[in-house]
């Protein structure tokens, strides 16, 4: 219980502060929505939010396609090449963000790709696909292969099997993987920070620079909105991952 309190204390604090009228957090000077209002008028934040969503959408789509293919191959063909494939999928999860960001930055510099939204999308796709692949791999391991055989035996062809057996049974896992990828993309800071070019900030990068400069109270308000969106996504994915009864 104490631990849970420890978890929530800072967040509750932030929540309360976002409605505090005072310019600095020291004391409570009354309830106010002025920080939300100010947030509303900040064009740079809007742009960063838009970038974040755009990047998350594209890299989620790409990473779902790549991740599902990877999981399917690793699960289906148990060859030596697939063991290397699995190692490649797993490794990005073990390597700290900062090293991944650094190595991608060097790659982009070396091949002469200027830092832009594209480089961020490539970076996000790389780490998101690993998560999607692992989620799907877990689902595939629980998946009973004889379902496919039974369907074939009863006369179903591959399109029918995909539509009537694979999608209904693996769909929730797919959605959970996609949501995970989306949330990770929205949340990522270190990698984005390293591979983003000037003028191409995402929300976390924007928050970071705001933290170092000024306007802490606006961050509070932004954080509350950001948090609410993430919570909704998480609860959605929890719903999807819950085993069917």
């Amino acid at each position: 219980m104490l631990v849970l309190g420890f978890f929530y204390l800072p967040i509750a604090m932030l929540f309360a502060q976002s409605f505090n009228a005072a310019k600095f957090g020291g004391q409570w000077t009354g309830f106010s929505l002025r920080w939300y209002d100010e947030l509303w008028r900040r064009e740079d934040i809007h742009q960063a939010a838009w970038n974040t969503l755009l990047i998350a959408t594209i890299s989620t789509t790409a990473s779902v396609v790549l991740g599902v293919l990877a999981a399917w191959c690793i699960h289906r063909f148990r060859t030596r090449a697939q063991r290397i494939h699995y190692g490649l999928v797993y490794a990005p999860l073990v390597v700290p963000d900062i090293l991944m960001g650094l190595s991608l930055l060097f790659l982009f510099i070396n091949i002469g790709l200027s830092l832009s939204l594209t480089t961020i999308i490539i970076a996000h796709t790389t780490f998101c696909m690993s998560y999607v692949a692992l989620v799907m791999l877990g689902r595939l391991q629980d998946f009973d292969e004889s379902m496919i055989e039974a369907a074939r035996d009863l006369g179903a062809n591959w399109p029918t099997i995909i539509r009537r057996i694979l999608l209904p049974l693996l769909g929730p896992g797919l959605a959970a993987g996609a949501l995970l990828a989306f949330t990770l993309s929205i949340d990522d800071f270190v990698i984005t920070f390293l591979v983003s070019g000037p003028g191409n900030t995402t929300l976390p990068v924007q928050i970071f620079s705001m933290m170092r400069r000024s306007s802490p109270q606006v961050i509070n308000a932004l954080s509350v909105i950001f948090m609410t969106v993430t919570f909704i996504l998480v609860i959605l994915s929890q719903r999807l991952t819950r085993p069917q009864s």
Partner: protein, 294 residues
Amino acid sequence: MKTRQWIESVLSLPSFGWLVLFFAVPTVLVFALSFKSAEYGGTLGTGWTLEAWRHLANPAYPPIIWRTVWLSLACTALCLLFGVPVAYWIARLDPRWRHRVLLLVILPFWTNFLIRIFAWRTLLHPDGHLKNLLVHFGWAEPNTQLLYNNGAILLVLFYTYLPFAILPIYAAAEKFDFTLLDAARDLGATKWEAFRKVFLPGVRIGMLTAVLIVFIPALGSYAIPAVVGGPSSEMIGSKIVQRATLDRNIPHAAALGAFLTLVIFIPLGIAAFLRWRDRRVTRRSHGLTPGVTP
């Protein structure tokens, strides 16, 4: 058989190629670039040199490396110290409550981690509520500095990684057969002995995962020292970013990155060895060590 191989290649190519190009190649690149020399203005010199690696011995670095390692170790130790009892507690809860409590544990770590760091900075701020409270009760002097030091970094590291430590230990504890504790008590063990000699070995793999999951990213921390640390509490991550983005000294950044990679491979190697030995022991004792999943 031939068509199967062909299908395998075609289906594997996209993800395999992507990961080789955007993960394997860049990682090798970091090592390669660390042997280059730096020219003024962020460009690379021709030829190979150990200059960047020799630079790691520069008196500025050892304290930073040492700080990074001990903060990460201390954070890992704290996470285990708190993570194990919490995981035990959750695993023993009524199943109906278990999932809700688990969700409560997971939720905060889904908030953006910068926001969490920022929340702590607000709390620990010289004008913040925590400081005011401590001073009010006489537990702190008005000029005590809560922020911008190693303590603040450790606290926030611990806060950030505790849920990551709880989850794998809980996953192991959930599979643990709690009647084993009763059996141990029945055979004369005290509660504490039963916990230490039966439960802890039972969740050993979960603890090992927790150690890796906390220690490795902690070593690579950048944002936490940047926000709650002071100028005298830099970590390797801070230096990497500084060299790569501000100084534009690519070989130095690469050498630091390569060094960090090596630091990480050492505990990974140890973990792999432990796991290998563990599996061998399990195989030899033919399932006589219950609760240990390889």
